[in-house]
């Protein structure tokens, strides 16, 4: 029964990911840079002292403490009551926020497809390792959310969610972040995937997502056309989200200034993340998700 379910889920998830790649994902797990508190006792060390097998510290006994944790060996040697403290192992919340505004559909291959594949891979790894997985899609606010998925049984739902999600509407990152941060419980990893081209700026929104409970990963996905535009002639550029127009005459000088601005913008985002302890990753939607997940994310220790 369980096998059948997995097969169905895999069939669905293989719409997004290559089966060989999925097979290789089985060996991975999500790694938090900090040891974070989870809701259920899980497979993960948490900072919270509790019931587990891994010794952490001693402390003097006070009235009311559970006598089961008194270290009787010390009492035998010193005739003083000390409690043994253990590191409690808890589950990890993996919260993935994906940008589903109209701008994500841009690019060849589209940024939308790329982040769906990436989320599928990350979600798969998280679910099969019994982590709590929440996937939110946002545009001008929180659009849809699959919350508190846990275990392989949710693979199909996750795949369904990803495959039916549409990138449309204009973006309001600040509003979306406020709603996501408000609905967030527990602690874990927060992964935000977007192109971060927000006219109102990304800093107020991201500032809401930075917290001690969550390890923040900012993944900026840009298409090859955005990284290196292949335009020519006298153009009226129309913003796909708000129909804002910019009249340009493409020249090498203009392209040079565009790239310089893009680089400055990405560096600004990176600096922002670094200063707040978040990890920043810039990826090209034309790159392969497999190598990103299997190599780069492991190298930065998001996965292990």
């Amino acid at each position: 029964m369980n096998q059948t379910k997995t097969a169905t889920a895999r069939r669905r998830i293989t719409d997004l990911l290559d089966p060989n790649f999925v097979a290789r994902l089985d060996s991975l797990d999500v790694l938090s840079r900090k040891i974070l508190q989870g809701k259920l006792q899980g497979e993960r060390r948490s900072k919270r002292r509790g019931q587990s097998v891994e010794f952490a510290d001693h402390r003097p006994y006070v009235v009311g403490d559970d006598l089961r944790f008194v270290d009787w060996n010390i009492y035998g040697r010193l005739e003083q009551l000390f409690l043994k403290l253990f590191l409690e192992e808890q589950d990890l919340t993996v919260h993935i926020a994906m940008d589903a505004s109209a701008s994500m559909s841009f690019g060849e291959p589209s940024k939308e497809l790329f982040i769906k594949k990436l989320i599928a891979a990350l979600g798969y790894v998280s679910l099969v390792n019994n982590n709590r997985v929440t996937i939110s899609s946002f545009a001008d606010g929180l659009k849809t959310q699959m919350a508190n998925m846990r275990g392989r049984s949710y693979l199909a739902q996750m795949a369904e969610f990803l495959l039916t999600s549409q990138s449309e509407g204009f973006s309001n990152f600040d509003n979306a972040c406020r709603q996501i941060a408000a609905g967030r419980l527990g602690s874990g990893i927060m992964i935000v995937l977007s192109d971060f081209f927000f006219k109102e700026g990304f800093d107020t929104g991201l500032r809401r997502l930075v917290s001690r409970q969550y390890d923040l990963y900012v993944i900026q996905v840009l298409s090859a056309q955005e990284l290196s535009p292949d335009l020519a002639g006298d153009l009226k550029l129309i913003d796909v989200e708000d129909a804002d127009a910019a009249e340009v005459t493409i020249s090498s000088a203009l392209i040079k200034y565009y790239k310089r601005n893009l680089s400055a913008y990405c560096n600004e985002l990176k600096d922002f993340c670094t200063r707040r302890g978040a990890a920043y990753i810039l990826v090209n939607s034309a790159d392969s998700v497999e190598s990103l997940v299997l190599n780069y994310l492991r190298r930065i220790r998001l996965l292990r």
Binding site: F197, V240, V248, S251, N261
Partner: protein, 655 residues
């Protein structure tokens, strides 16, 4: 290649090129392109505009084509000319005839316009001062228009536009044609270095280029070197009927009767019936049909004589008026089709005799047909208000008999005896026993007067100024002299009549009559109203500094100011017709300006002119263009570029 109007193109370019660039910034058709976000593009554009405002026109084929098109048009404006004939820099004097015969319309639109066109072609064919070329000097041109007088339209210049404008500024005249002055002026200018004082040798002879119909009066007084003059003949027809003489005269017996004589000449080869119309004050009074024989050639000298017909009218009119005689047959030259005469109201002379008692003189004057004769003594004359006499002029003639007055009011004087003072005539001594040795019998004053027997027992020796006109001479002194001084006319007889045997001669009465008539005509002479073309209108005796208005053919709303002596002189009678001079508070003065010139009316173009025995043949063919204007090709290029731009634009938009 040279540029005729480089500055025009430079100015136009300075205005048009920035305008094109500006327009290019303003109107650019852009293709729409959807992008994920305009955020970074806007920043990039801002950076680009801050750093390099002209980056956007880089590598823009449309703008490049438009600029090329504009350049082609601008080059066209500079009027580049490709010289097809080689030639070194020379000096040319263009002599353009603007006399009456050049108004003939046998060559459309007129001979003068045709001559101007030929002169322009000549100038355009010359290599000019090349503006952008290494050749520093070009041909220099001087333009002189000549009629009765020569007029320098422009001095030697290599600026063709200036020369062309000078030619364009030549206006037709109705005058005689005299080339001599123009040639003298041309040579005088040619010997100076000219306005562009380069190192051009002053000795280098200038080439004279004459544009005329060859009807020039003073050809026999001009001498030119054999190849100095190029003659271009304009005109082809001889058909012309002219009024070559016209006179209107009041009958002596009945001043109300006016006799009008006119002579018509037919220069064509065939006999012509034409109507002659007489108008008085623009009212037609008579029309008479006249048959004029054709031109005849006399066998011996091979000179052609026009057929002539004389016509006389007579009408009765007691007032002043303007008479017009006009022939109604259409011909090539219109300025000799009509002649005008100004009729003044009939006047009779009013004479004042100042004498202490001279029965002989008084009788002789009374025998003359005068309007009024008043006699006063010298004392009474000296007591008169001389200033009022000057202004009002109640007497046409004052006869002074042996009286030297204290003041001389402005008038016409006949003096006997000692001449008046202050008229530059000195009397060093008295002479005795003088006999007449010579006199001017053809002068109007001495007409029919025989002075052979005139003997003066005593007379004054008159020492006359140089401008005095001596009419009769005794053996040691002038006997009769005519002198104009201070606005007055003096007919001086340096003797007392009673000291001569003249009263016993019949000539004395004739002299008195002639003298009164002549001096009376001097009244009219002050206002000579029947003029020839080019003859100035002169009016004397006006209040000083008076501003008078003048109207006439080719003159409208003109104003002319009298000099401090009260004289107005208007030389601009270039066209035939009636001129009017309006002096405030005075009756309108009319002046008739007529051609009445058989030579100018003879419009037969002369293919050969003979200058002091030197024959100059007209050029066989009129000037043809010897260089090629390139502007049409440049305009064509601009059109091609416009089409190309259209193609490129469409191609770009279709992407």
């Amino acid at each position: 290649m040279e540029w005729l109007t480089p500055l025009t193109a430079l100015y136009a370019g300075a205005a048009a090129v920035p305008l094109l660039l500006l327009l290019y910034f303003l109107k650019l058709k852009r293709r729409e392109q959807i992008v994920s976000s305009t955020l970074l593009w806007k920043r990039a554009v801002q950076d680009l505009q801050v750093n390099a405002p002209f980056q956007r026109i880089r590598r823009n084929i449309l703008l490049l084509l438009q600029l090329l098109m504009l350049l082609a048009i601008l080059f066209g404006l500079a009027w580049p000319v490709l010289s097809l004939t080689a030639g070194s820099g020379r000096r040319y004097v263009l002599l353009i005839d603007r006399s009456a015969s050049m108004n003939a319309v046998d060559v459309a639109p007129s001979r003068l316009d045709a001559a101007k066109e030929q002169a322009k072609l000549f100038i355009e064919s010359l290599p000019g001062k090349a503006f952008f070329s290494l050749k520093g000097t070009g041909d220099q041109i001087m333009v002189i228009a000549f009629g009765k007088r020569a007029k320098v339209m422009c001095n030697f210049t290599s600026d063709k536009r200036q020369a062309l404008a000078a030619i364009e500024a030549i206006r037709a005249g109705d005058g005689d044609s005299l080339l001599g002055e123009a040639v003298v002026v041309a040579r005088a200018f040619a010997q100076s270095p000219g306005v562009e004082a380069d190192n051009r040798s002053a000795e280098e002879p200038a080439q004279l280029v004459l544009f005329s119909d060859g009807r020039i009066r003073d050809l026999d007084q001009i001498a030119v070197a054999s190849d100095e003059l190029i003659f271009n003949c304009v005109g082809k027809s001889v058909q012309n009927i002219a009024i070559t003489a016209m006179q209107a005269r009041r009958s002596y017996e009945n001043p109300d009767e006016i006799d009008i004589f006119a002579t018509l000449a037919n220069y064509g080869a065939t006999r012509v019936n034409c109507d002659l119309q007489l108008s008085l004050n623009a009212d037609v009074r008579a029309v008479r049909s006249v048959t004029i024989p054709g031109r005849t050639t006399t066998g011996d000298s091979n000179t052609a004589q026009p057929g002539k017909a004389a016509v006389s009218f007579s009408l009765s009119h007691a007032d002043a008026g303007v008479l017009e005689v006009r022939q109604l047959h259409s011909d090539c030259l219109s300025c000799d089709d009509a002649a005008w005469a100004i009729l003044s109201a009939p006047t009779r002379l009013s004479v004042l005799l100042v004498t202490a008692g001279n029965i002989v003189l008084e009788s002789a004057l009374r025998a003359s047909p005068l309007g009024r004769l008043e006699i006063c003594t010298p004392a009474e004359f000296d007591a008169m208000d001389h200033a009022a006499l000057s202004v009002e002029q109640p007497y046409d003639v004052i006869v002074l008999d042996n009286h030297v007055p204290t003041g001389l009011p402005k008038c016409r004087y006949l003096t006997f005896g000692r001449p008046p003072d202050n008229i530059d005539v000195s009397v060093p001594q008295q002479l005795e026993n003088q006999v007449m040795v010579d006199w001017r019998s053809r002068h109007p004053v001495l007409q029919y007067v025989n002075l052979t027997n005139l003997f003066a027992a005593r007379c004054y020796k008159m020492s006359l100024p140089r401008d005095a006109e001596v009419l009769a001479e005794f053996d040691q002194t002038p006997a009769l002299a005519l002198l104009r001084r201070n606005g007055s006319v003096f007919l001086l007889a340096g003797f007392d009549v009673l000291q001569t045997n003249w009263p016993f001669e019949p000539g004395f009465v004739l002299f008195c009559y002639n003298a009164a008539s002549f001096l009376g005509m001097e009244v009219a002479r002050n206002q000579d109203t029947n003029l020839r073309v080019g003859q100035p209108i002169v009016v004397e005796g006006l209040p000083p500094e008076t501003l008078a208005g003048i109207e006439g053919p080719g003159v409208s709303g003109g104003e002319i100011k009298a000099n401090p002596a009260g004289l107005i002189r208007f030389p601009g009678t270039d066209r035939v017709g009636v001129y009017s001079l309006n002096v405030p508070d005075q009756p309108l003065r009319l002046f008739a300006v007529n051609l009445l010139d058989a030579r100018e009316s003879d419009i037969e173009p002369a293919r050969e002119i003979v200058l002091s025995g030197q024959s100059v043949q007209a050029q066989q063919r009129p000037f043809s263009r010897s260089n090629l204007a390139l502007w049409p090709f440049l305009v064509g290029l601009a059109l091609v570029l416009a089409c190309l731009e259209w193609l490129v634009y469409n191609h770009k938009v279709r992407i």
